[in-house]
């Protein structure tokens, strides 16, 4: 009844229509087709996006303090195990060069060249007097430390975001609560607000300048602003990211921190 040509045309038409109908519902990497079941799922996916299995970044930190010269810090960061192991190789300024940091699970050490050994440091201690503390620098995954609740979808600076409340699972976690905004379209974080259990705001971390970072699209600027002293800001600029690079396990050991010495 139908010619071969008509059958072929119908098949092509069917294929095109199918693609057009279902394409909007396809899941480009990182985005969710529909509202996730709970906040923990969002946090897990964001962690997976941001951290990956392993990565290496170059970073420049700019610490701005009123009436004082800015402090510029340069370091390389190596991640492995979805953020459970982090090694920070401090390269600049000369006074701090060699004072490398290591995170393994919840333990943080810093190599002190003057003393000649690695010492434990508190995650809550400020890093070089800026608004990032040691934990902010090395702990990048929330999944194991926080219980997340999805409050709703909000619009921030014209961007639709999931608004989540994260509560610490254990008393030794750095922050008691975090207000977390995650972009809906690409699951990249927009903002983190660190608060005490009484609701007092401590500081805010803003993720901006989303663009190519290595082979992926990521926020390339992190700005931490103190709520108590808004004129104090610390910025981190990320570059030269390499993902899924083979990083040997021994790099993330206290023994390596001391063996390397510089």
């Amino acid at each position: 009844m139908f010619s071969k040509r008509m059958v072929f045309k119908k098949r092509v038409l069917f294929l095109v229509v199918t693609l057009l109908v279902f394409y909007p519902f396809s899941s480009p990497r990182g985005a969710l087709a529909e509202l996730p079941p709970d906040g923990n799922e969002i946090v897990k996916r964001v962690d997976r996006l941001m951290v990956g299995d392993s990565a290496e970044y170059d970073s420049v930190m700019l610490i701005k303090r009123p009436n004082l010269e800015d402090v510029e810090v340069r370091y390389k960061t190596y991640f492995k195990g979805r953020g459970k192991k982090v090694f920070v190789n401090l390269l600049y300024p000369p006074e701090q060069a060699g004072k490398n940091l290591l995170l393994v699970n919840n333990n943080i050490w810093q190599y002190v060249p003057n003393v000649g050994k690695a010492v434990r440091v508190a995650g809550s201690q400020r890093f070089m007097g800026g608004e990032f503390n040691n934990a902010d620098l090395v702990k990048i995954s929330f999944v194991d430390d926080y219980e997340a609740t999805l409050v709703g979808i909000r619009e921030v600076n014209g961007e639709r975001c999931y608004f989540l409340k994260l509560k610490a699972k254990r008393p030794d976690v750095t922050y008691e609560e975090i207000n977390y905004w995650v972009r809906v379209d690409n699951l990249l974080p927009l903002q983190e607000e660190y608060v005490t259990s009484s609701g007092k705001k401590l500081k805010t971390l803003i993720f901006s300048d989303v663009g190519p970072l290595g082979t992926l699209v990521r926020p390339r600027r992190l700005t931490m602003v103190s709520a108590l002293r808004p004129e104090h800001q610390t910025m981190v600029f990320l570059s030269n990211a390499i993902y899924d690079k083979h990083i040997p396990n021994y790099l993330f050991s206290r023994a390596y921190l001391e063996a390397k010495k510089m």
Partner: protein, 503 residues
């Protein structure tokens, strides 16, 4: 039509797949693809991030030169009639100025091979109240070694050979398990200690287990050096090993060391975190000889008469100093906490099993009181004193080796007694510009009588407002009755002012 579909669609799909793969490879290998420069516009100023070259060179570390240049002025308040300096009967002041530079050269021509050299040059000028001024130029190679990274039987291994500094232990002020640095220089806590010539191997199984082996071919005794040498006969070889393990939030270290003619030493140390509080501890045990020499009365003070009996003279008491034999241990326990305002507090308790009990301390202070300066100087002074005073030639007087050991008594407060407490407070970023610290060491054996309590205090304040510059004011204060450990110090106090630039 099918034929056209195949020859059009298939190549497109193939190109897409291959192109993606090529793009990924290019991105990872090409600096111009994976790096970029970011403007950051702050306060109206444009600036660029360092380009790829900086990162490549920084991490390849082919040749790196670092160091610091410093100038510090020192003002000493010398105690009168100190037991360790009995010839000084005046309240004396001294001043000095030291200019110097520490240089460290790190060479890594390949990923596996490296070399490290650290040295110091200093020009020291001292002015004494009752003596001639003195000027001295010093230079010293503190560390010089080669390193090789390799894989041995699948285990990451780091071997280094040469003069290098090794520091073990979790404690802040005392490290009983540190076989290589048994004494802490209380004149300069931040002193970068000189290394020892040794073979040092680190074997890292993974991030939870590692083993370290150190062989010091010649752990010689340098009795006059208040640096970090173990007292032993010349030529003794020392072997030490450490196994470390990380279980969740707790690190455990097991230590073993053996010097050629001595019994082995066993040690264990740990550090852990519980609810934001860090706990740490160390313990070392050995059987054999004590590290310290203990005094005993050889013969009491006597009054002797000449043959006619017309005149008399006093012969001082003589003392013997010997190592004790037995079982000894040292123990350290401490905790560290960082407050929300960044203030860090450390409290440590140290049990020094090798220290003097009160009876030995009384004998020691009697010896110092009656023996005079002859026994607290360097070997040349001791020999000269012996030649000058024939009585000192008699065998009843302490042997040369024990005198040499005691010669450190002037500078070496290496824990004379048994029980100590250390308190450390550290507050950085005060007004974004200052760092304030306070160290206090209390001799608990001397705390029972308030007139005898000995304490050492070290307050300091450092200005850190200018990047790479430190300006520091620091004091060392020694307080206590004259027969206490800190009260017998030749210094009542020392004041330092230092400017240091890092490059």
């Amino acid at each position: 039509m099918k034929f056209i579909t195949i020859i059009v669609l298939v190549p497109i799909v193939l190109m897409f797949i291959v192109g993606e793969a090529v793009a990924k490879v290019v991105a990872r290998t090409s600096p111009t693809v994976s790096s970029y420069e970011v403007f950051h516009i702050l306060d109206g100023k444009e600036s660029f991030l360092p380009h790829w070259d900086f990162w490549e060179n920084a991490t390849r570390n082919v040749l790196q030169l670092r160091g610091n240049a410093y100038n510090f002025a020192q003002y000493n308040d010398i105690r009168e009639n100190s037991l360790l300096n009995p010839e000084n009967h005046f309240d004396v002041k001294e001043a000095g100025n030291t200019m110097g530079m520490n240089l460290a050269l790190d060479v890594r021509p390949t990923e596996e091979w490296g070399g490290f050299l650290r040295g110091k040059v200093e020009e020291e000028f001292a002015k004494y109240e009752f003596a001639k001024s003195d000027e001295e130029f010093k230079n010293n190679i503190e560390q010089a070694y080669l390193t090789k990274e390799m894989e041995l039987a699948g285990i990451a291994s780091f071997i280094s050979v040469g003069k290098q500094r090794i520091k073990w232990g979790n404690g802040m002020f005392w490290n009983p398990v540190d076989t290589f640095n048994p004494r802490q220089d209380m004149q300069n806590f931040e002193k970068i200690t000189e290394g020892k010539v040794c073979y040092h191997a680190n074997f890292i199984l993974d991030n939870s287990f590692a083993c370290t082996l150190v062989v010091v071919p010649d752990a010689t005794s340098k009795a006059f050096s208040y640096d970090n040498f173990i007292f032993s006969d010349r030529g003794d070889t020392l072997i030490a090993t450490r196994i470390e393990a990380l279980f969740r939030d707790t690190e455990l270290f097991f230590h073993f060391s053996k010097k050629e003619k001595e019994e082995p030493r066993y040690g264990v140390s740990f550090s852990s975190v519980i609810a934001d509080v860090q706990f740490f501890g160390e313990a070392v045990y050995w059987r054999g000889e004590s590290e310290r020499l203990y005094p005993s009365l050889f013969s009491p003070r006597q009054t002797q008469y000449d043959p006619i009996g017309m005149s008399s003279f006093s012969v001082p008491a003589s003392y013997r100093f010997e190592n004790r034999k037995g079982t000894f241990y040292k123990l350290l326990l401490g905790f560290q906490y960082t407050f929300p305002d960044d203030t860090t507090m450390v409290i440590e308790y140290f049990y020094n099993g090798d220290g003097y009990e009160q009876a030995a301390m009384d004998l020691y202070t009697d010896f110092l009181r009656y023996a005079g300066n002859d026994y607290t100087a360097d070997v040349n002074s001791v020999l000269a004193a012996k030649q000058k005073n024939p009585l000192l030639q008699l065998p009843m007087f302490p042997s040369a080796s024990s005198l040499l050991a005691l010669g450190n008594g002037i500078y070496d407060f290496a824990n004379l007694r048994k029980n100590y407490l250390h308190l450390f407070l550290h507050k950085p970023y005060v007004a974004d510009r200052f760092r304030i610290e306070l160290d206090a060491i209390i001799n608990l054996d001397e705390i029972s009588r308030t007139d005898r309590m000995g304490i050492f205090l070290k307050p300091s304040i450092t200005y850190t407002g200018i990047p790479n510059w430190n300006f520091r004011l620091q004091a060392h204060l020694y307080s206590g009755a004259d027969d206490t450990e800190f009260g017998m110090s030749i210094y009542r106090g020392i004041l330092f002012a230092e400017a240091c630039y890092f490059f």
